[in-house]
């Protein structure tokens, strides 16, 4: 049988997850541009990034509100949003800390392996959260939508990675590090969810 769907009416509706997601993306893009142009220093950039990561809190809170409003706030969805929220904040903090520490370390060594794990462990957390959602979600339609969106993201990632790989082999584009795979997949999955919604499913 199915876990109870949370139909409790949300309090204040507030802004939607799209607003907070776009705000976070724009803030990070502006920060990256300022860092590349060397307008913002390393310490100030790290501090601003910490501030930007706070936008993830209203993002995942609004995702829960949207799920309740849309009548699809199953316990598994709420746990998924919480897990993704914690993992995303840990990722941003881990990434910033790892890059800062790497640039300032005097004697690279085994310690660098630990630094590399800082942003990677939260990514493992995201993948674990996704897997746990697929196991725990008892509403077959909600699970179907997530699986379709995840497959769209995977298809996009494989296509882009293959295309980029050949362009890189022919020295037409610069090298892209392997850790870009998860963000590309996540963006593809988000576009997949948007496509499903646009189709009225």
């Amino acid at each position: 049988m199915t876990d109870a769907i949370d139909t409790a009416k949300p309090g204040k509706s507030g802004r939607g997850p799209a607003f907070w997601g776009i705000s976070f993306g724009l803030a990070m893009a502006v920060l990256a541009a300022l860092r590349i142009a060397d307008i913002v220093g390393e310490k100030a950039g790290f501090a601003i990034m910490l501030g930007c990561s706070l936008l993830l809190i209203p993002l995942f809170r609004s995702a829960n509100r949207a799920a309740r409003r849309g009548g699809c706030a199953s316990p598994a969805v709420l746990r998924y949003n919480r897990g993704m929220g914690v993992s995303s904040i840990a990722y941003v903090l881990g990434l910033g800390t790892a890059i800062w520490a790497y640039n300032h370390q005097q004697d690279p060594g085994v310690w660098t392996y630990g630094l590399a794990l800082l942003p990677v462990l939260p990514i493992f957390g995201m993948i674990w959260t996704m897997g746990r959602y697929l196991v725990e979600e008892t509403d077959e339609y909600l699970k179907y939508r997530v699986v379709v969106a995840a497959l769209i993201g995977l298809g996009g990632l494989l296509s882009i990675a293959s295309l980029w790989g050949f362009l890189e082999t022919f020295e037409l584009v610069p090298h892209v590090p392997g850790w870009a795979a998860v963000p590309v997949w996540a963006i593809g999955m988000g576009l997949g969810q948007f496509w499903i919604k646009a189709r009225g499913q």
Partner: protein, 64 residues
Amino acid sequence: MKNRLKVLRAERGWSQQDLAQRLEVSRQSVNAIETGKYDPSLPLAFRIADLFDMAIEEIFLRGE
């Protein structure tokens, strides 16, 4: 697949939310099934049939 879920629900004066709670699924699931955008699994189809005290083929129609 076409189905008579919307009619059966309306006959009982249930909203989509009412039916969703009775089936213990999300309202979006009920909406997707009613509009033919999603075909339920056999276990869920049996639960729907049991709720309306009908056979599955009386609710879900062959074709399409």
